[in-house]
């Protein structure tokens, strides 16, 4: 195994700007799983009340796993919670809204969404402080990627996805009014994470895929939100990434509205049929962060299966850079942590650029 010549930050930056990294970065999305190094339960971790312990959890996870960067995802309810949505925090499970009593009970309730200051509000404040704490400790050596759940994702948390999706067709004006308010908050949130030391912002546009919305509807409801948030990030000189673990992702729309450096994804774009085709069509324009299947491989895979999967992905995606070896979605918070380490080791073993 060759000796690393770059640190994680340099490596990720070089990879995502199609420069010359020493090797493929290894960065499974170890987010909630870091709670296991923090002394906090998953529920306590998600509540962001002990930011110092969270910082230490991430730092210790980095020591053990050796990944090149961390993403500031806590869970997808952070933003909705700050707007007033009731959130449940199971002790050993991912936080979720109380869908039995949604914050937005009718389409008429979109009006009640008020602009909030993310720097002062609940867990958004916690994430900003987490970013700042990590920036102090690892900001010079590892990539710190801020995280923003997209506007319509946030609204679906507040309304409940099913009702929200129907509102998109039945009450679009009310939804779009709320999108405008959420956008303003997300812009400030992204700015605050950058000011706290994030090197990049990852915008989760989960619904920009064939799994959920048509391309036309997605563009209509979230295209402009993506532009508004990513414009701020581009202007700050930081990297822009998207996350989308849906099937058949709209890479063309992502490019049009956000000009991302990379997309963290689990499946290929909607306009190709294989990973090889994906690399040929999109690999030179938008980097790929992915795409190890979290359940069957990162969680249930044998050491041999993990290594084989990583090797195969590196063979397709490493040429020409623009690739970070990672899981296609968050590394399962309950998966064996040594599997995350195996992913990084595979990047070191098979991903060295000659």
């Amino acid at each position: 195994m060759a000796q690393d010549e770059m640190n994680g930050l340099q490596r990720v930056a070089a990879a995502l700007t199609f420069g010359k990294p020493d090797r493929v970065p290894g960065a499974p999305l170890v987010c909630g799983a870091s709670h296991r190094f923090s002394g906090l339960s998953y529920g306590e971790w998600s509540q962001c009340t002990d930011v110092d312990a969270m910082v230490q959890g991430h730092v210790d996870a980095l020591d053990f796993i050796g990944h090149d960067g961390v993403v500031m995802l806590v869970d997808l309810t952070v933003e909705a919670h700050a707007f007033g949505c009731e959130v449940k925090f199971p002790e050993m499970n991912t936080a979720h809204p109380n869908y039995d009593d949604p914050f937005l009970k009718s389409y008429k309730d979109y009006k009640k969404i008020q602009r909030i200051d993310p720097r002062k509000t609940q867990r958004m404040k916690g994430v900003i402080e987490l970013t700042a704490g990590l920036s102090k400790q690892i900001g010079g050596t590892h990539a710190i990627v801020g995280f923003v759940y997209g506007s319509i994702g946030v609204l679906s948390m507040m309304r409940g996805p099913e009702a929200f999706f129907m509102d998109l067709l039945e009450h679009p004006a009310e939804v779009m009014e709320a999108v405008e308010v959420v956008d303003e908050v997300l812009i400030e949130y992204a700015k605050a994470q950058l000011e706290a030391g994030a090197h990049a912002i990852c915008y989760d546009h989960l619904y920009a895929s064939q799994s959920i919305l048509s391309k036309e509807l997605w563009e209509k409801v979230e295209g402009n939100s993506v532009k508004r948030v990513t414009d701020v990030v581009h202007k700050a000189g930081a990297l822009v990434a998207f996350h989308n673990c849906g099937n058949g992702i709209y890479f063309d729309m992502s490019e049009k509205w956000g000009k991302p450096h990379a997309i963290s994804h689990a499946y290929v774009a909607d306009d190709v049929d294989s990973w090889e085709e994906h690399k040929a069509k999109w690999g030179g324009k938008i980097g790929t962060i992915g795409w190890i299947p979290p359940g069957p491989v990162a969680m249930l895979g044998t050491p041999e299966e993990i290594e084989e999967e990583c090797k195969a992905e590196i063979e397709i995606f490493a040429p020409g850079a623009g690739f970070v070896l990672s899981t296609g979605c968050e590394f399962p918070p309950n998966a064996p942590l040594r599997n995350a380490k195996r992913i990084v080791e595979a990047a070191k073993k098979y991903g060295v650029y000659k």
């Binding site: 991912t94 869908y99 999706f165 359940g295 069957p296 969680m299 249930l300």
Partner: protein
């Protein structure tokens, strides 16, 4: 008693209302069908199920996505609520199967489960929907109580997926013949194999196709 022509006209209008997700129209046409004395079973199977079959095809071919499909299901239920009390299984008719359906404990993502429910009900299946965040033993109890042919388990997170491994032996221990279908984002063929399930499906229309095949196998087994 509606004439055959009138019944066919109502069925066609009902199909159109479902396919074009016209919720109020679907309810109105169903009421009209009942008032005209049309056979509720025929109207349901040909109008609602026929309409949802087209919706399934549109979903499969990416012409319809989740919002459109949900609204079609809303139209379906608006009509079904009206027709259901008037349905009598026709003499000699063969009932479709029964399924127990639910989202695993610790998981509240029920969107996929709800689409499955609509498509199965439209096709004449009896669906025992346990909802979301369902304790494991509830699946076992409901299967035994209803003698359902298939248990369908949904999990959208790895943290809830692991419960399936524990649950399948609990169900099979009580009823070894029951078929288990599992689905959701983290589920793959590998999970099916590793957890001892019978099958997975990547979307609702495929789930229905697989369920029909399993039901056929089960019934052949019973007949043999």
């Amino acid at each position: 008693m509606a004439t055959k022509e009138k019944e066919q006209e109502l069925i066609k209008r009902l199909q159109d209302a479902i396919i074009n997700y016209k919720v109020a129209d679907a309810k109105k046409i169903a009421e009209e069908a009942v008032a005209a004395g049309a056979d509720a079973y025929t109207v349901t199977m040909e109008g609602l199920a026929g309409g949802m079959e087209v919706v399934s095809e549109k979903f499969d071919s990416h012409e319809y996505f989740v919002p459109e499909t949900l609204l079609c299901a809303k139209a379906l239920y608006a009509a079904l609520d009206v027709l259901k009390p008037h349905i009598k299984l026709q003499a000699g008719g063969v009932a479709r199967g029964q399924v127990v359906l639910g989202v695993m404990q610790g998981d509240v993502h029920d969107l996929g489960k709800n689409i499955i429910k609509a498509i199965f009900e439209a096709s004449g299946w009896t669906v025992h929907d346990l909802g979301r965040d369902v304790p494991l033993k509830r699946f076992v109890e409901e299967q035994l109580k209803t003698d359902s042919d298939i248990v369908m388990l949904s999990a959208m997170m790895t943290t809830s997926m692991v419960g399936i491994k524990k649950l399948i032996p609990m169900i099979k221990e009580k009823n070894p013949k029951v078929k288990i279908m599992i689905g959701g984002a983290p589920i793959t063929e590998k999970t099916v194999e590793e957890y001892g399930a019978d099958i997975t499906a990547d979307n609702a229309p495929n789930a229905l196709k697989e369920a029909m095949k399993m039901l056929e196998t089960l019934r052949k087994g019973k007949a043999a």
